[in-house]
Structure formats: C-alpha cells, structure tokens
C-alpha cells in the first residue's frame, strides 16, 4: 500500500460550536471590565477557590512529584495516541459498547442526534461536559426537536438564564446568588415564588426541578474526564451526584469525549484522581467518581455509545510546542490564578475554553487566525504554569502562538524597523536621543498617538533622562 501525505490535519470548522468569539478579546474585555458586579463576583469566587486549593495542595508531601507524573503520563499518551485510541475502541466494543469516530463538531452532532432519534426520545439529560459545549450539541439537538436538559446546577443556571458558561468548572461563576434566584424565578417552571437566595434554598429548588427529569428521561449525554485504554473504562468526576443519576438511570448513555482524554492504564487514574480535585475544587478527594465499562446486563444503561471527537485536536498534536495543551485535565486552576481572567471573566475569551488554557487551546483548535487576539490575552505572568497540575507551560505556548498570529501591517513594519535599529548601535543611540527630543518637542502632557495611547490613557510617561546610560558611561 502506498501512503500519500494528506497535508496538515483539519482545524475545527467554523459556523458550529463555541470556539470562536464574535469580537476580539480587548473589545470584549473592555465591556466586562466596566461591569462592577461581575468584577466583584469573579474576585470573590476566584479568591475563595484559590485559597481552598492552595490549602489542600499544601498538605500533599509529593505534589511536585505528582505533577511530574501527570505530565509524564500525558506526554506518553500523546506520543502514541492513535494506538491507544484503537486499544480503547477494542476494549469498549468488547465490553458491549459502540464506538463512533467524529472528525469534527458537525459529525459528532449528527452522530449523537441520530442516536437519540433512534431511541425515539425527544428529551435528553446531560452531565456537565465541556466538549458538548465546544461542539454546540444543545443547539444541534434543539434543531432536531430534541430537548437537552442540563443537570449540573451551574449549567442549569446558565441554560435557564439563556446564557453561556464563563468558567470550565464553575460555569455560572459570573453570577451571584441573588442573580441566580432571579433566573430561577423567571425561567424555572413551577418554582416556589417565595424562593430566597440562600444557597441551600436554591439547590433545593434545582433538585425538585431536576428530580422529574432524572426519573422520566431515557437517554443521557455525558462527556468524560478519562478513558482507560487498557480496560475500556470511562470516568466522570463531579461534585453533585446529578452526573451519577444521568450515568446510571437511563436506558441509553451517549458519551462524547475529545480524543486527548484517553490514558493508557487503570493505574494512571491514581495520579489524576489525586491531582484533579485538589487543583480544581480544592477538595482532597472527588465527591462523585463514576466509572463504567461498556454495558453491564441488568445494571445501568443497557446501550452505551462512545463518540471520539477530533475537532482540531490532531492539528494541535501536530505542533511540537503547542501539543502540550492537549494534556489539560480541565481542572481550571489556571483560570482561578490568572489575573486577566479574574478581572475580565470567561465570556471575554469568546470560546467555551476561557482563561490561560483557553487562550492556548482555542486558537490551536480553530487555527490561530480565527482567534488571533487570544494568545495576547495574557501578561505572561506565569501564574498559570505554576498552578497547572500537569505542568503545561502555558506562557511558552502563548508566545509560540503569537509568532503564528497574523500581525497588523503597521506593527510588523515598526517591529522590523526597531530590530534593524537595535542591531546597529549608532542608529540605536540616535533613536535614544530622539526619544528625549521627541518629548521635548511637543508631546509632553498630551499623551501618545494610537496605538500607544493605550499607555497614556491611565499612566504617565517617564520623564526622559538628561543623558542615557551609555552617554553617562562615555563621559565617566
């Protein structure tokens, strides 16, 4: 058999799913920054999670060793991803499940919609999942006349509020409890009009609302946190138990997972089930860890479908620097420590993957040109790299992607001119003197022209010194 080179793997297609925003990050961030309530909600929530997570990470004697182990397992996985996926397919099939391969969001949505239709159901209940948000599955199901019901409390808040998630782990982090109460009063059928904004009361209202769904819905859709290639076991970790209801009660379970979620062996779970809860929710042990292998006669769903989604992941894998973004276990620790995310919130990133990991993952999944502002949505402070439980060097990927981003022509010209000048010390010295002369000549007190006006909008310029260092040195 001859093999022909088919070119670079495809990126995620436009027009479907939620990987692309409608405006560049700086414009979206500007609006978010002016929302004082949002700033308060985010500041409070991220500080709380940061503190809780830091405390329980501090208890672990070998956290650096665990992180290194997590990275090593993921690096190994990515190095032999095709082989592990075929092993997973064989194991799931042997255990009574059916595996489907989806090249992109369009295919995945069609596969899931067809599977639901085949059951005759007109409603599915959903376990919180990032990947189904990524592909826009809810919209696809609704277009086919199938009602998706989010069962994770925060996802339910987002769905009832006709909103979008703004955080990987806490999708309604941008809402405070009084806003949640208003959403429930407005959109939750049959809600008690005397509902207060006490967290327990809000949770109880959601529980009553969801109970009927759990008992009467025959099909569930989930994502997956891990898939063990050697055993064919899928794993979902969650805090509420609502996910477990979806995973155990219905007749049919359809799981959509990104191909990067596979891990080689059962034993590898040991590492990730220690890393994930401490890095994400700040819990020592995850509250509800559900694992299932194919179909068990007489127990749980009797039909299980696994949809393996690419949607740009092979393109990410092809980039030696960027591929470590596929190591992400969706803990959201990088969001919680990010000084940019803490102030702008998740919607400013446009994609369902916000924060530092979103700023490196979304542009790679879509192609950098379609998310060109995201690699710049960071001060490169490095807090994300320190917080990442699998040691993804996010700042280096950001810088790498900036090198691939389309550049404004004027900026590119200025950068080339600056590099040329700085490579010629005499020109450089002349330019240094011009800085002083330019300031003396006129712009004092009036700020700079765009794009440098961004500086003088909130900051004074330094007074140019009487002489540069090299002039001082020469006269010494």
């Amino acid at each position: 058999m001859t093999r022909s080179f088919l070119g670079m793997p495809a990126t995620a297609p436009p027009g479907v799913g939620h990987l692309r925003g409608t405006e560049p990050f700086p414009a979206a961030a500007r609006r978010a920054l002016s929302d004082a309530q949002l700033r308060r909600n985010l500041g409070h929530a991220t500080a709380t999670i940061r503190g809780r997570s830091a405390a329980v990470i501090g208890e672990v004697p070998d956290w650096p060793g665990l992180r290194a182990a997590g990275r090593a397992i993921k690096t190994d996985t990515m190095a032999r991803l095709p082989e592990l996926l075929e092993q997973l397919e064989a194991a799931v099939t042997a255990a009574g499940g059916t595996v489907h391969w989806a090249a992109d969001a369009v295919q995945a949505n069609r596969i899931v919609t067809d599977l639901v239709r085949a059951t005759g159901a007109d409603r599915v209940m959903k376990v919180k999942s990032m990947v189904t948000q990524e592909i826009g599955l809810n919209e696809a199901l609704e277009a086919a006349g199938i009602e998706p019901v989010e069962t994770d409390l925060a996802e339910l808040i987002v769905q009832l509020g006709d909103d979008r998630p703004s955080h990987i782990l806490v999708p309604a982090i941008h809402r405070n409890r009084s806003e949640i109460r208003e959403i429930f009063l407005r959109a939750m059928p049959g809600v008690d009009r005397a509902l207060t904004d006490e967290p327990a009361a809000l949770a109880a209202a959601a529980r009553r609302h969801l109970r009927q769904t759990f008992l009467s819905t025959r099909v569930a859709v989930s994502g997956a946190n891990f898939a063990v290639a050697e055993t064919g076991t899928l794993a979902v970790v969650e805090s509420e138990g609502n996910g477990r209801m979806c995973l155990t009660l219905p007749e049919t379970l359809i799981t959509v997972m990104g191909i990067e979620k596979v891990i080689p062996t059962w034993r590898d779970l040991e590492v990730f089930l220690q890393l994930l809860p401490r890095a994400s929710t700040g819990e020592r042990m995850n509250p509800y860890t559900s694992m299932w292998t194919g179909v068990t006669p007489g127990d749980g769903p009797q039909a299980f479908h696994l949809v393996l989604l690419d949607n740009g992941r092979s393109a990410v894998l092809a980039d030696p620097v960027g591929r470590q973004a596929l190591h992400c276990i969706r803990c959201s620790a990088c969001l919680n420590v990010c000084p940019v995310y803490e102030r702008t919130g998740g919607h400013a990133y446009g994609s369902v993957y916000p924060g530092p990991i979103g700023a490196v993952l979304s542009p790679q999944l879509t192609g950098v040109a379609d998310n060109a502002s995201l690699p710049y949505a960071s001060s490169l402070c490095g807090a994300c790299y320190d917080a990442c439980p699998v040691m993804i060097d996010i700042p280096s990927i950001l810088v790498h992607l900036r090198g691939q981003a389309p550049h404004p022509r004027a900026e590119a010209t200025a950068m080339a001119a600056a590099a040329y000048t700085m490579d010629h010390p005499a020109l450089y010295a002349a330019a240094q003197r011009a800085v002083r002369l330019g300031r003396l000549a006129g712009r004092r007190g009036r700020g700079l022209p765009p794009p440098l006006s961004g500086w003088t909008a909130s900051r004074d310029l330094p007074e140019p010194p009487r002489q540069t260092f090299r002039q001082w040195w020469a006269e010494r």
Binding site: S379, C381, V399, G447, P464
Partner: protein, 258 residues
C-alpha cells in the same frame, strides 16, 4: 575581585539610567570591576513576546556575540535575564541555528539578575546600604516565576540600614505591565494596575521598589497619574545608596509628565 559585564537593558539605558548607574556604583563599591560592552542594545524580548521571533533573531545573535567573551554578565532586570535564559536558545533553534542556540545557552548560564548575583555569586546580603525610607517591595513576575529569585531581594532590603520594609499585600499578583500587553490590552492592564496601586497605597510606603524598571515604569506611571505621592525606585538604587548620599541625583525612577 570579579570582572562583571553590565547588561544594561535597553529600557534602563534609554529611560532609567539611574538604575544602571546605581548597579555600576554598587558593584564597584563591593570591590568589583564593571565593564560595559558597548555593542549591546536590546535582548529582543519585546519582539519575541509580541510574536516576532524572526526579527528577534538578529538581536539574539548580537546579544550572544557581545556577551560571549565575558565570564559574568549582570543585569538590573529579572525580565531581560529571563528572556536570555528562557527564550534566546528557543529563538535560535526556531530559526534552525543550533550553533547559536548552544552559544546562547552558554551566555545564559553566565548571566545573572542583580539580586541573584549579589546573594548567590558574591554571597552578600548586607551591601552596606543606607536608605531611610518606608519601602514596599513588588516581586516582578519574571524574577519570581521565571528566575525564582525567591526572597533574595527581601534579604538584601532587610539588611539596608534605616529602611522600614513593609509587606505588600497580594504581592505576587502581576502588576499588569506585560510588555506590549500594556498597550494591546490597555483596559485589562489598567484594571490590574489599579489593584496593585491600591495595595501599594495601603502599605503607606514612601517608595515602591522592584527589580525591573519596566514594571516600575507601569506602576510608577499609574501612581504619578493619580498624583499619589509615592515614588517607584529600582532595587539597585536603594542598594547603592549610602550614608554619604544616594547613588545618583535624587530623581525618581518614574513619574513626571502626563
């Protein structure tokens, strides 16, 4: 006695010479010879971090060529040393120049940020400085998380006579500078700056210091705009000051005009 090549950084050279002059005076006071390789200009960090590694290549090549002859290179900047250590070889490799990458790694291994050089190489924490002011210290992100300078600057500051060191709340949060981030994402940068200034003002310090003139230009520019009455001063200037007087003219590191 050591022979130290000063890597001045383009920003200190052009806009904050007092930080570089203080570095020279400090190292000479400690008994070392300082040389200034005049072929140096800029390490290229701005180009790399803005997405122009191709343009940065010539600056990396220049930096490596200029500093290769010296055993010890010292810069009053965590960020620029971070670029030399963590970016130069990558830029060279990205351009397929393995030989340059190797030479860049050699130079990087001999390049130190000022507080690293003082504490780790010279083994001093008391540099004999006198600075009778209430001071708070902002650990810059690249010195903290790229270079891991840890508490070295604080140990140096604690040994300064007359200095009243006040802890900065949430010190390890980024000030929002981030190079061209400050312009490309000016609103977010300003929101981060607002919180940093709030914490600086809460200390009631006269002076906010740090190991990077770039972050100080940002913090100081914001404080100056608010007419907050707090100066930003580079760590080197504090360490160079003695009972005999400040290292240089008493001009503040930043501030000035709108």
């Amino acid at each position: 006695m050591m022979r130290v090549a000063l890597f001045v950084t383009c920003l200190a050279d052009t806009l904050f010479p007092q930080a570089a002059i203080a570095t020279v005076r400090l190292l000479e006071r400690l008994g070392h010879e300082v040389v200034f390789p005049e072929g140096q200009t800029c390490c290229g960090q701005m180009h790399v971090n803005t997405g122009y590694p191709g343009d940065a290549l010539r600056l990396v090549r220049r930096h490596v060529r200029v500093f290769a002859p010296y055993d010890v290179v010292v810069a009053p900047s965590g960020s620029c040393v971070g670029s030399v250590r963590h970016q130069h070889a990558t830029v060279a490799r990205g351009a397929g120049d393995e030989r340059l990458a190797g030479r860049a790694e050699d130079v990087a291994a001999r390049t130190y940020e000022l507080s690293e050089f003082l504490v780790d190489v010279l083994g001093v924490t008391d540099v004999g400085a006198y600075y009778p002011h209430r001071v708070t210290y902002h650990p810059t992100c690249h010195s903290l998380r790229m270079l891991r300078v840890g508490d070295r600057p604080l140990r140096l500051l604690r040994a300064v006579r007359g200095l009243d060191l006040v802890e900065l709340p949430q010190a390890e949060q980024c000030c929002g500078f981030g190079g061209t981030f400050a312009v490309k994402n000016a609103d977010t940068s300003t929101a981060m700056l607002a919180d940093k200034m709030r914490h600086v003002l809460a200390t009631r310090a006269d002076v906010c210091t740090a190991g990077d003139a770039s972050c100080l230009m940002h913090i100081g520019g914001g404080l100056s705009r608010l007419r907050a009455g707090v100066r930003t001063v580079h760590l080197a200037e504090i360490l160079a000051s003695t009972e005999a007087g400040p290292a240089d003219a008493p001009a503040p590191t930043t501030g000035g005009t709108r």
